[in-house]
């Protein structure tokens, strides 16, 4: 078991192999073959992750750094003292992420084999999915920021590729706002993919700056060097003594060369902050804590991009244009949590920068609120889930910002399960409704409706409870888990975040704690409301369209989907038990309390277990239940009928609020007005005036073209045609004339040639005998 960590490259290379096989042979394997290879690759990664997890338990949670044998020197520039090795890090944090990614990933791969059935680009889809696994695994297993960045960019690429997977999709958006924005026949998926990519560039720019600054400051990008032990958290006095010995050898400056060669970023940060060192930037220098704050703020910019936080969250809802498994895997369960992973991984830095932490907490908090608020006003089933994801990511980021790293990770894990469940469930619903739509229209209805029908619009659904029981049950589980109802997974994780916020606020007296607690509690209520609304709109009441009436979850290929749902529902129910807080002794006999936190603490030095706030828990559950009840009162008792408006839209008191939420708080429009519009106008101006009018018309056409033409004309007429051609042609004519006369010599008669030879011979003899003959003639 000690050698198991050496297997870690397999989590990257198994999907890589899978994608290569599908890339080369995908055309010939058929759907079953492609699915088998892709799922097999994902399962191999999962198995490897499980083995790593077991080895961690067996070896006492000792972190291991594994070098890639083929690439000992990944980036090595001796002149610039850049030496970055491609190393894999096996510790509790990375293994947690691997398990989530590979576990949820495998299930979603399996689900997608059914969901993508019949798609002409089936192999390509699985190539992309496996490619995503490759990069996600790189992201979470890398032992330095650069490998992580490669993964970070790679998953961004996969996200782009998969959002735009149906790049030729031109369906008209049902939403009039979108219809106005994209036009009736926009390349919606391509635009969405582009948007995701571009917005993420802003975030990646921040992350890259952070990485550069990190390298400048610490001279290395490694989290920890191989064999290095994290220096103990300073705030736990008892632990300091215990870890003093471990840290001691690292503190001796004299031993073993420069600090950067011996010590990773985090331990250096601890040391330097303790020393209060200054960082030299050439013309000026800054105190280390300022630099760390800058680094973490740059990181935060990256997080807001990748994890869809304010202000860069706008790409995530549009990203739902991609296939539903993609939404579930990339845009709900795994990729978008990379930001949270980054913060948790850099907890030492964030802990050392209270200002940044506070900003992170506030950003997360308000993202949670905004996401939840907008989700209440959406009709598109996936849009609701998308804003819900934004909101939940806000919860995680807020928790991380508040120092509750374990809670953040915990919520990440549970969220991966129930949000994947919900997305996949919504996928089943969409699939079924679309199927029903085709079924209904097989009887020959007019084609006009075909164009406007949106299988994702909840107004087109209703009454699916009876037709899709498995989906309904699992969706219910997911809803309850997301709403934080006891004892589902979301209850434990969300409650822990709230409790931690409360602790930060009341026990530590920090302002962001108060704000976070209050706002997050409201966001949690929003969560329960919009999930209840969605549940009732989709599954309850009477079918509102023919499509919903013909919906059915037993069509070909949907078994794989519903089975996945069942597995995920089990996970969404039970996964919360891994981190039951202190105090719920009832559950102690299943899994020890806060086991997950203990697991993480070996890596995340500033993680700490929350304690149960029984009162808060009861309050939250009661709030959640009451919000679901409220949703039932509004949407369940009197189901929305086809063509009617949302009940909230009708009520005068809520009309404005709903419109605001429905319009997504005009966030995109604001961006459009303040950034995109001016940018576009500037681009237009540059293109029209600078490029076309000035560069093309004036510089190229007038100056260059005319000048060149003038010179060319001069060169052509008198010089080339007159002088050069005249000389060449004249010479040619001269030679021609000579040749015409000379050719007569070549008569073709052998005897003439023989005569000329004889003539030559006579001349030679004459010349040779000339002295003798001249004597003879002269004498």
């Amino acid at each position: 078991m000690e050698n198991f960590p050496q297997l870690v490259p397999l989590v990257v290379f198994a999907p890589l192999l899978g994608l290569l096989i599908n890339l080369v042979l995908g055309k010939y394997l058929g759907e079953r073959g492609v699915g088998f290879v892709a799922v097999g690759a994902a399962l191999t990664a999962l198995g490897t992750a499980l083995l790593l997890w077991m080895s961690l338990i067996a070896t006492g949670y000792e972190p291991t750094v594994v070098e890639l044998p083929l690439m000992p020197n990944w980036i090595n520039i001796p002149a610039a003292a850049v030496d970055i090795a491609w190393q894999f890090r096996v510790d509790t944090l990375s293994v947690t992420m691997m398990l989530v990614v590979a576990g949820v990933g495998s299930l979603i791969h399996f689900y997608a084999t059914g969901y993508m059935h019949g798609d002409p680009m089936y192999p390509r889809f699985f190539v992309y999915l496996n490619l995503f696994l490759v990069f996600m695994m790189l992201l979470v297993t890398g032992n330095n920021f650069l490998v992580m960045f490669v993964g970070w960019e790679g998953v961004g690429l996969c996200s782009y590729l998969l959002i735009s997977f149906w790049w030729d999709k031109q369906n008209r958006p049902a939403d009039p706002v979108e219809a106005e924005k994209y036009g009736t026949l926009g390349w919606r998926n391509s635009i969405a993919g582009r948007k995701a990519f571009i917005v993420n560039r802003i975030g990646d720019f921040g992350l890259l700056l952070g990485v550069f600054l990190t390298f400048w400051t610490f001279g290395t990008l490694d989290f920890y060097k191989p064999g290095e032990v994290p220096i103990a958290p300073r705030h736990e006095e008892a632990a300091v003594v215990e870890h003093e010995a471990a840290a001691a050898p690292a503190e001796g400056e004299g031993e073993g060369g420069p600090l950067a060669a011996r010590m990773g970023v985090f331990n250096q940060a601890e040391l330097l902050i303790e020393e209060g060192a200054d960082v030299d930037f050439g013309p000026f220098s800054l105190p280390i804590d300022v630099v760390v704050t800058l680094i973490t703020l740059f990181f935060l910019l990256g997080v807001t991009g990748k994890s869809a936080q304010i202000p860069l969250f706008v790409w995530l809802p549009d990203a739902m244009a991609g296939p539903t498994p993609v939404s579930a895997l990339i845009h709900a369960a795994t990729m978008v949590t990379a930001g949270v992973y980054l913060i948790v991984r850099s907890n030492v830095l964030f802990h050392a920068a209270p200002l940044s932490s506070a900003v992170v907490a506030l950003v997360g908090t308000f993202t949670a609120l905004v996401g939840g608020f907008i989700a209440m006003g959406q009709w598109d089933i996936k849009k609701v889930l998308a804003y819900s994801t934004v909101s939940q990511l806000g919860f995680m980021v807020a928790a991380a910002g508040l120092g509750a790293y374990a809670a953040a990770m915990f919520h990440l894990v549970t969220h991966a399960f129930f949000k994947a469940l919900l997305f996949l469930g919504s996928g089943v619903v969409i699939h079924a409704v679309e199927h029903g739509h085709h079924h209904a229209h097989a009887h020959g209805e007019h084609a006009e409706e075909e164009d406007v029908f949106d299988p994702q619009d909840m107004r087109n659904m209703g009454g699916l409870k009876q037709r899709m029981p498995v989906t309904y049950i699992t969706y219910l589980v997911g809803t309850l888990a997301l709403a934080g109802i006891f004892p589902f997974a979301g209850f434990w994780s969300k409650d822990e975040i709230l409790a931690d916020a409360l602790n930060v606020g009341f026990l530590e007296g920090r302002l962001e704690g108060y704000i976070a607690f209050g706002v997050l509690f409201i966001a949690a209520l929003f969560t329960a409301f919009y999930m209840g609304r969605q549940l009732f709109m989709v599954f309850f009441g009477e079918p509102r369209t023919e499509a919903a009436r013909h919906a059915d979850e037993k069509a070909y290929g949907m078994q794989a989907m519903t089975r996945t749902l069942l597995v995920l529902a089990g996970g969404a129910t039970l996964v919360g038990l891994i981190n039951v807080p202190r105090g719920f002794w009832v559950f102690d006999w299943v899994i020890p309390n806060h086991a997950f936190t203990d697991f993480l603490e070996h890596t995340v030095v500033y993680a700490h277990a929350g304690s149960a706030q029984m009162l808060l828990a009861i309050l939250a559950v009661a709030g959640g239940l009451s919000m679901i009840w409220l949703a039932w009162m509004i949407y369940g008792k009197k189901p929305v009928v086809q063509g009617s408006k949302d009940p909230l839209e009708v009520t005068p008191q809520t009309k404005g609020i709903f419109a605001y939420a429905n319009a997504r708080m005009y966030w995109d429009e604001t961006y459009y007005r303040f950034f995109e519009g001016p940018f576009n106008r500037a681009a237009w101006w540059l293109a029209d005036k600078l490029d076309w009018a000035f560069l093309h018309d004036f510089v190229h056409e007038t100056i260059l073209y005319e000048t060149y033409n003038g010179i060319t004309r001069l060169l052509t007429r008198p010089i080339d045609l007159g002088l050069i051609d005249g000389a060449v042609n004249g010479l040619a004519r001269l030679i021609q004339a000579i040749a015409a006369r000379m050719r007569r010599l070549q008569t073709g008669y052998v005897r003439v040639y023989a005569l000329s030879v004889l003539l030559g011979a006579v001349v030679v003899v004459l010349l040779m005998l000339a002295p003798v003959l001249s004597d003879l003639l002269g004498g």
Partner: protein, 421 residues
């Protein structure tokens, strides 16, 4: 005079046959006249001392090649050429004029007397050095010019040509400076054209001498060798060279050379070539027939066609004693002029590379003849490659021209000018 008359008769036949060949309308007749001409030429070769070439001429030319000609004529049935159109009427006149100019030139040059073809120039004298004196290696100077350097005892140098004339011979120990040191041996040498001379260094104990031994490198009689003896012992008056005959019979001794004094040249003796014989050197005038010979040449082989110089020379041993050693220096004579040996000797030494080239040429010609006379070569007609006519200007130049030159006629003329011719 008889020879000249014969020459004139045979020459007339040769010219007549050549003329008949020229004018005969039937190719078979022409070929037979040519054979006659070749035979005449072969006769001239014989009289010119080239028997080998003469026979080759008969065999190869008059035989093989002319048979080949006849064969081809018969094969093609082309004894008479079909009369073609009378073309090139000016050519015969011009040809005759040229021929006359040629003949006049040659004849004029020959009759001018400027070209001496009556008597051949004699060959340059050839000289070599044989070191048989009791002395270390020596340098030999002729008229104070270094002639041979570092000649070892018992060694003979190669022949080197020299101009005729008188030479003073000085011999120094090897490496000595002739300007400062006194010569060890003095002598003189008189050379006339056609001489071949071996300078033999003789002597011991302060008595030294250079003996000029004239040699004859002309071919020997068949199965014979030439033999001469030089007495190199200053303290022995005269010696005889004796063939002891059979050892069992003491009475069959035969004295070959008598009374050879120190440094004297005795007459060269023609001798039957023998192998593995024994010759004794005895002091002249010895009464005792049974006396031990002074020195014996044992296992002596006299090859036919060689000049053999036997020298009895003193040699100082390491312990200071002097002993008498027999020296035998054999030199091959030249082969008979024009004989197959003479031709072959040149062919396989000086002209080896041309010889090989010519043999390869023959091989190639043979293969070429076979290939060219195969029927398929002529029947196989490859399709004629279509002639592609395209302007010599590229499309870019054309477009430029079209743009630059306004009227199309101009373009056309330019293009046709460039494409034509």
């Amino acid at each position: 005079m008889t020879e000249v008359i014969v020459f004139l008769i045979v020459g007339s036949i040769a010219i007549a046959s050549a003329a008949m060949m020229l004018i005969s309308q039937n190719a078979v007749h022409a070929a037979i006249y040519l054979v006659l001409n070749f035979i005449c030429v072969a006769f001239f070769f014989l009289t010119l001392g080239a028997p080998f070439i003469s026979l080759v001429q008969i065999a190869v030319y008059a035989g093989a090649i002319m048979v080949l000609f006849l064969f081809v004529i018969m094969l093609l049935g082309a004894e008479r050429v079909t009369p073609g159109p009378g073309v090139l009427p000016w050519l015969p006149r011009t040809a005759v004029v040229l021929a006359l100019v040629f003949l006049l030139t040659i004849g004029g040059a020959l009759s001018s007397g400027e070209i001496n073809l009556q008597t051949p120039p004699p060959p340059a004298p050839q000289v070599r050095v044989i070191h048989a004196a009791e002395a270390p290696p020596v340098d030999v100077y002729l008229n104070n010019q270094l002639f041979a350097a570092g000649v070892d005892f018992r060694a003979a140098t190669d022949y080197q040509p020299l101009a005729p004339g008188e030479y003073g011979v000085t011999v120094f120990p090897a490496g000595a400076d002739p300007a400062t040191e006194a010569p060890a041996i003095l002598g003189d040498l008189v050379l006339v054209e056609g001489d071949t001379v071996s300078m033999v260094l003789l002597g011991a104990d302060g008595v030294f001498q250079v003996t000029d031994l004239p040699e004859n490198l002309l071919p020997t009689e068949d199965d014979q060798a030439r033999l001469t003896l030089i007495n190199g012992l200053p303290d022995v008056d005269r010696v005889d060279l004796v063939d002891p005959g059979l050892p069992s019979n003491p009475n069959d001794d035969e004295v070959l050379i008598q009374n050879a004094g120190f440094g004297e040249t005795v007459e060269t003796l023609p001798l039957e070539a023998v192998t593995d014989t024994r010759l004794d050197v005895v002091i002249s005038g010895g009464e005792d027939e049974e006396a031990e010979p002074l020195v014996s040449f044992r296992s002596l082989t006299l090859e036919k066609g060689t000049n053999n110089v036997l020298i009895v020379a003193p040699e100082r041993l390491a312990d200071g004693r002097v002993r008498i050693v027999p020296l035998h220096i054999a030199t091959p004579t030249e082969p008979l002029y024009g004989s197959p040996q003479a031709v072959a000797a040149k062919l396989f030494s000086t002209y080896l590379l041309p010889f090989e080239l010519v043999s390869i040429l023959l091989l190639v010609a043979m293969i070429g003849a076979i290939v060219m006379t195969r029927d398929v070569v002529l029947q196989e007609r490859r399709p004629r490659r279509p002639i592609v006519r395209r302007p010599l200007v590229g499309p870019m130049a054309v477009s430029t021209l079209v743009e630059a030159v306004e009227d199309e006629e101009d373009v056309e003329t330019v293009l046709t000018t460039e494409a034509g011719g």
